[in-house]
Symmetry: C2
Subunit: 249 residues, 2 copies
DNA sequence: ATTACCCTGACGCTGCGTCAGCGTCA
DNA sequence: TTGACGCTGACGCAGCGTCAGGGTAA
């Protein structure tokens, strides 16, 4: 008796698994003990133990319980296929996590550099990040990062205020009904273009992405910062002003 | 009405989420619509939409729904802490997956090289891999890999048969009751040592690991290959023979 | 009346953890 | 009798998917 079979508890201790796990494997038919005692106790034989080893090995490779079962029970069965499939899955996971990791690192750096950051600024930062990721291609992101370094830390912090002021001025003219071709508005348009150039380095692809972001998410951005209205109106107005500024195109 | 609020379906379409997801967020209190129609329809206001944006952003960073809720609802709250914690988790995940990936690649290479591999050989291969990983340190694994390359493909394939023959001979002497100091057994002991040296390069740490593996898993190995009995007896016997061979130590 | 919405349950999935209530006893 | 084990349910976890069986809006 002593050598012939093990109870669940004994098997659990030897393998480091829990009794519940073995119960579960029994329930789903992955590992049913070959024998039972009169009282219904599970009795695992040497063969069962061997099978459990196989199960554990396959599980350590990250396969699901169902895959393990297929692997062990289905007679004609291509392991290479399964391994390749699984490998592809794992690689994809790694890629996703690596990207995530990069974003989190960027975020952590920012938070560290900015000192005590209140929760709402944190949230705004994240949203800007995700928005940029949706609207810019990775190459554009790379390029913008370089630009930021060239432009410098100080300048970057000043930028939002510059924009806010400029937008307010444009809106004022717009509401006064000033002609977009008016010199005042033309000056503002130049300033607008200059600001864009400063951060995009004049890359037209990026300017285009910014435009799309603004058109599609303007309302959202505005709702976030809770200050201005009618962003599309403003950008349309400034667009006209720019067009009026260079009638050659 | 048109501008003031959205129904679930509309909001779902705009965000790309499903209605069920929005229902779920409502259920767990993550995003409850500010208003309801007379018939109990959920009506999402601009503020709700903004909050949903935040939720999505945080989710894209991989946070759990509970963490997102804490992030959005708890007033004093350190984002940096959370980001760091999460970053650590993600990095750990990546590490685990990278290790797994390496193992799967090794396995895939082996399967590819071996051509059409039947399921049972596949299983044995895996078990040997996992067993080795439990009993050898990573450095030892590295070292063994180098040895395998030095020894060559052909030799590796011959090895199991050599071992089987040698073990059979040793067992025969043991069962005849031959003295471990007998020249016949001494010759076998030398051959044993030579085989070990061939694959371990004489590294004593590895020899020790092999010994431990054999002592602790011998029964299992034997059960797998279904051929021999009493592995500990054999290794004890050969151990005595080696000791008898060099009484100086 | 049709159609396209909306609602609230409630179960399913993965891989077990964690009781609860009861029987066994190597 | 009392532990230390064993047994079978059954719920819980995350984050929704997916019906089912209704009401509502235009």
């Amino acid at each position: 008796m002593r050598f012939e079979s093990l109870t669940v508890g004994e098997l659990a201790r030897r393998t480091g698994l829990t009794v519940r796990t073995l119960h579960h494997y029994d329930e789903i038919g992955l590992l049913r003990p070959s024998r039972h005692s009169g009282a219904g106790y599970r009795l695992y034989t040497v063969r069962d133990v061997a099978r459990l080893q196989q199960v554990r090995s396959l599980r350590q490779l990250g396969f699901s319980l169902e895959e393990v079962r297929d692997c062990l029970d289905r007679p004609g069965f291509s392991p290479l296929e399964l391994v390749r499939l699984h490998l592809a899955r794992v690689r994809e996971q790694i890629e996703l996590h690596r990207r995530l990791c990069a974003r989190l690192e960027a975020l952590a750096d920012y938070l560290q550099g900015a000192g005590e950051v209140p929760a709402d600024e944190f949230l705004r930062t994240i949203e800007v990040m995700t928005m940029m990721e949706t609207y810019y291609t990775p190459e554009q992101m790379e390029y913008l990062k370089k630009r930021r370094e060239e432009v410098g830390e100080e300048r970057m912090k000043q930028a939002p205020a510059d924009w806010a002021e400029l937008i307010a001025q444009v809106r004022a003219e717009m509401e006064k009904g000033t002609d977009p071709a008016d010199p005042t508005v033309q000056a503002l348009a130049h300033r607008w273009q200059a600001l864009i150039n400063e951060f995009t380095g004049g890359d037209p692809g990026i300017a285009q992405s910014v435009g799309r972001l603004w058109r599609e998410q303007g309302d959202n951005l505005v709702a976030q910062h809770g200050a201005q209205y009618d962003p599309r109106g403003v950008s349309e107005y400034i667009g006209k002003a720019m067009a009026a500024g260079k009638p050659s195109s």
